[in-house]
């Protein structure tokens, strides 16, 4: 429900938002939540340090979070799935190499790598998507690889090879159906992680460029005003927290529903 609401909010932001999220009013800056601000408008969640409507910015912020979140999940999923399949099918050296890469990545404090890469490429939507996406490929790769290994141990693949079946066919007919539910579960959990990671990077000042609103960036901007204008940080922060809770709960629920074997991992 909440997720659907968010998606709608993100898509229909121009219609729902009470104000233009980047419209400023220096005279009406740091206004507390009010029905009639200095500019004669209602600011249900107050205004920020440039006099922009916080509610509108939170609504528009959903766009950034969801766009980066979904895109990152797709990137991570594609890369992870490909590497997992390659590792599983090729086995041997390729397999060890890919799995060592996964080890290395897990040993790396990822946030530092992200900061480094963003320092090289400069902060932008594509950079964020790639960086966040790549941070999550390992889980997909592991699931797909182990599924392929299971099939191989059943000598399925060899048999199909012998019969002249293509690898693509094996993947679509035998691998994917078996792991689809796991993938859906992982993707949902990854979505929650990606949204939080984007917010964290924005909070560190490495997110999308101003004046585009993003939740993490808003929390960051409001930090200086925590004691005088608490609404700037807390409004986007609470929405972000709810989103993260709901999405990851959905993931847990899907897991219990679709894939009891993953339970308790």
């Amino acid at each position: 429900m909440f997720v659907a609401l968010l998606v709608v909010a993100a898509l229909a932001a121009p219609m729902i938002a009470p104000a233009d999220p980047i419209r400023q009013s220096l005279r009406g800056r740091l206004s507390a939540p009010t029905l009639s601000g200095a500019d004669g408008r209602a600011h249900l969640l107050g205004t920020d340090h440039l006099g922009r409507d916080v509610l509108s910015r939170v609504i528009y912020g959903a766009r950034v979070s969801l766009l980066v979140g979904f895109a990152a999940v797709i990137v991570g999923g594609l890369v992870g799935a490909t590497l997992g399949l390659v590792a599983g099918f090729r086995g041997g050296w390729t397999d060890s190499m890919i799995m060592t890469l996964a080890d290395a990545q897990l040993a790396f404090p990822f946030i530092l790598l992200a900061i480094g890469i963003i320092a090289v490429l400069g902060p932008s939507f594509p950079t964020l998507i790639v960086v966040i996406g790549l941070s999550g490929w390992v889980t997909y790769a592991r699931v797909l690889r182990s599924q392929v290994l299971v099939l191989r141990s059943r000598e399925f693949v060899d048999a199909i090879h012998a019969l002249g079946g293509s690898v693509a066919r094996v993947i679509t007919r035998h691998v994917l159906p078996n792991v689809l539910s796991s993938l859906v579960v992982i993707a949902t959990l990854e979505l929650a992680r990606a949204i939080v990671l984007e917010a964290t990077l924005s909070f560190l000042g490495l997110g999308v460029q101003p004046p585009t609103p993003s939740w993490g960036g808003m929390v960051h901007e409001g930090r200086e005003y925590l004691d005088s204008a608490w609404w700037i940080s807390t409004a986007p922060g609470i929405v972000l927290m709810l989103t993260s809770i709901v999405v990851s709960r959905t993931g847990d629920w899907l897991r219990d529903l679709l894939d009891p074997t993953l339970r308790g991992e």
């Binding site: 060592t100 040993a107 404090p109 946030i111 480094g116 890469i117 909070f203 927290m241």
Partner: protein, 310 residues
């Protein structure tokens, strides 16, 4: 695991760890070199070209990249991470100077997590579906999914600014440690509480507990005696795993609370383009991660006979 299986197992783990470390070092090296030049930060903007050349040579940045890379790897093998560009002393010593603050924070976070989560988990299980149970489990949910930085901001807002109880940041005395430790430990605390609860529930359902209860032994004693022992395995695992990802969380927590640890040092050093310090920080935290994971695996084997035999 039988003894003769142990050595090859250890050897393969070691090799994989070494390769992972090499990969990590290489990636940091490449990313940092691509990210920009530290020299303009060191000199006034109107310094002559000759001055730039001199400083670049002083830092060894005038040599071709492959040469720098080979020198770097050679030095790392000897445990030498070079001179910090910003601090003008050995990068390793710089990192060592900041490490205690991070350890202090990490240990406090986990002590706090265990201290709070274990009793809560047990109580929730014993008083299943009570108001206490539901409230703590809801809170645990928040702890598990809320972004670290926002937990920190909320704690500052409520505890420091509104209630005026604890300092907003810095590292002076035990009272400045509480909020950062809570923030860093929130995720682990929530996970451990939930895990403890479900393990204890499982044990409570077991026959021998019912017998004990029937004999009239009090709840607390029963739980203490029998359940925690059995629930220990998953708790150790998750604790270890969480400890391994400490630095990632520390980067954010230390930034929010201006805690002078290696997480903040790492970020500052990236901004200062202080290559040696970044390389050293990442290397040390990767080693810690690998060692801790390995210990967790061993501990797991020791605690759970089923794992050992299979």
């Amino acid at each position: 695991m039988p003894m003769r299986g142990l050595l090859p197992f250890l050897a393969s783990r070691l090799i994989r760890a070494a390769i992972a470390l090499w990969l990590v070092s290489t990636v940091v090296f490449v990313v940092m070199r691509l990210s920009g030049d530290p020299v303009p930060l060191l000199l006034p903007p109107d310094a002559p070209q000759s001055e730039f050349a001199r400083v670049r040579a002083e830092l060894g940045l005038d040599r071709p990249l492959p040469v720098q890379y080979v020198v770097f790897l050679g030095n790392v093998l000897r445990g030498d991470f070079g001179q910090s560009i910003h601090f003008r002393q050995s990068a390793f010593r710089v990192v060592l100077g900041y490490l205690p603050a991070t350890f202090e924070l990490g240990l406090a976070a986990f002590a706090l997590a265990l201290l709070v989560a274990l009793p809560i988990g047990v109580v929730s299980a014993v008083k299943r579906n009570s108001a206490v149970d539901q409230a703590t489990m809801a809170l645990a949910l928040v702890g598990q999914s809320a972004p670290t930085f926002f937990i920190g901001i909320l704690l500052i807002l409520i505890v420091s600014l509104n209630l005026g109880l604890l300092p907003t940041s810095g590292r002076e005395g035990w009272h400045s440690l509480i909020l950062p430790a809570l923030t860093l430990g929130a995720f682990a605390m929530a996970s451990i509480a939930r895990l403890t609860r479900s393990s204890v529930l499982e044990v409570l359902r077991a026959d021998y507990i019912r017998t004990a209860r029937a004999k009239g032994v009090s709840d607390v004693v029963v739980v203490a005696k029998h359940t925690l022992k059995n629930a220990a395995v998953p708790i150790v695992t998750i604790t270890g795993l969480q400890f391994g990802t400490l630095l990632g969380g520390a980067v954010v927590t230390e930034t929010v609370f201006a805690w002078p640890g290696i997480g903040r040092l790492a970020i500052q050093s990236i901004y200062n383009r202080d290559y040696p310090v970044v390389q050293c920080t990442v290397f040390i935290s990767a080693v810690l991660f690998i060692v801790i994971n390995f210990c967790v695996d061993l501990l797991y084997g020791l605690l759970d006979p089923r794992v050992r035999s299979s």
